[in-house]
Symmetry: C2
Subunit: 241 residues, 2 copies
DNA sequence: CGAGGGTTTGAATTAGATCAACTCTCGTGG
DNA sequence: CCACGAGAGTTGATCTAATTCAAACCCTCG
């Protein structure tokens, strides 16, 4: 459970400080803006906290804001009328949200762990973007990166077996590990249900598949939220099909 | 079979003309550049033609070029080692390709119908982009649009039934119809195999599902490459699940 | 006319879903 | 401290949607 040293006061006077000292800055598009101009960005940002389990973007709502996630983690998803859900991604510190061109959000977002985020007015942000080409470039790079990830996920969802999907997921998670964590140790803040909805499977299949991988000595599962990769090589091979 | 009035001569002197008179310009990111500056763009463009069935981007190859598709249509896809294929999108006139941030292409591209395309050196293009913020903005918009489409496709691949997938595909195709075509008439330049690899299904399932939709009076199939939507409303409902 | 794609249809098979039971964990309160 | 309950996770048995295997059926083109 993350604890925030500086609980945000809604409507509190904005200052440059939160941006300069933001520990998500290095991972974020914001670091395309140098210290001296950061104030322009900071005065647009409204910081807010979101509890675990709370939805902070609702698909179909007017897309007024950009978001920058500065702490915690969240899931992005789309829902069908009957409740079927597809999680399109998990996002962590430094991730930028709300690039949508349309007037409404194309997905929902819900905090998995307590989240802190910077909210920017879309219209003001767009105006600002004109003055910061480096920032815009960074956004373009991010979008391109996400597009590549999305294509990889389409391959997974369209063509991989359950086994390959779970292996791919573990493989990707182990690569995306925040540095300074034990090698081959994967933290899974999301539930099995979330993993299932991300991989286009059911909870049961995810659970069974994990158990089987454990039975084969590829991984260990010391607790439900932690996986140790015993054999990264074989896992990678499995993931690739 | 499209016939090009002006067969490109490789190495032919580049002029502004091909850009000014390009009939893909209206659909393309290029129209963010006004007439007087178009020359800057034109001098970077190398026009080339690609036959149907020919691959013009190979996954894993060095990503040296951007492409702008000015005629014809193509499929983008990823392959697994054993030949499984996921088509991540079909692209037509006006589509921009090759935004990848990494040093290599993340997907392959193959012409479905004869394709004409403008090739731009990535490095030169990026340099140029600095002088044309409107162009860069347009790229960002495109990327965002594609990201939204990709999320929709993930929902389809992860959570929709075969019936819903085929209905969604027909629905989307009917919306993306080039204007000036008969309402409710869908041209399908791609094969059943391509559709299957796009929807994460087999050829047989696609064929069976189409037949069933026809049996139910939702569509007509006057030829393999043409579908008439009899009941767009019910199709849309089906597509949504 | 016949060869060879692409497409359609049918029968058998199976990976994963569904349904159902059980376990584990963890927080609450007696 | 332990009993209890609720939710998440696991495991087993059955079922089914879609795949696989197999056989026509078309078009198109030489």
């Amino acid at each position: 459970m993350a604890v925030f040293p500086r609980p945000p006061l809604p409507g509190s006077p904005r200052s440059l400080e939160p941006c300069l000292s933001c520990d998500a800055r290095a991972d974020s598009v914001c670091n395309a803006v140098d210290d001296e101009h950061l104030a322009r960005l900071a005065e647009l940002a409204v910081v807010s906290d979101v509890q675990a389990g709370q939805t902070f973007i609702e698909e179909g709502d007017p897309a007024d804001s950009f978001f920058n996630l500065t702490a915690g983690s969240a899931k992005l998803y789309k829902l069908m009328a009957d409740g079927r859900r597809q999680i399109t991604g998990f996002v962590a510190k430094g991730h930028f949200l709300g690039l949508a061109v349309s007037a409404t959000y194309a997905f929902s977002a819900e905090a998995i762990e307590p989240v802190r985020l910077c909210r920017f007015s879309r219209s003001r942000m767009f105006r600002l973007l004109g003055d910061f080409p480096a920032l815009e470039r960074r956004l373009l790079e991010r979008a391109a990166t996400e597009l590549v990830a999305a294509q990889e996920q389409m391959l997974l969802l369209g063509r991989k077996t359950a086994r390959e999907r779970v292996a791919s997921f573990l493989h990707t998670q182990s690569l995306a590990a925040p540095c300074g964590r034990a090698r081959n140790s994967i933290e899974l803040p999301m539930s099995r249900g979330d993993i299932a909805d991300y991989l286009g499977l059911t909870v049961e299949t995810v659970s069974r598949t994990l158990s089987r991988l454990r039975g084969e000595g590829l991984i260990e599962i010391p607790s439900a939220t932690m996986v140790l990769v015993r054999d990264p090589g074989r896992l990678a091979v499995l993931a690739a099909g």
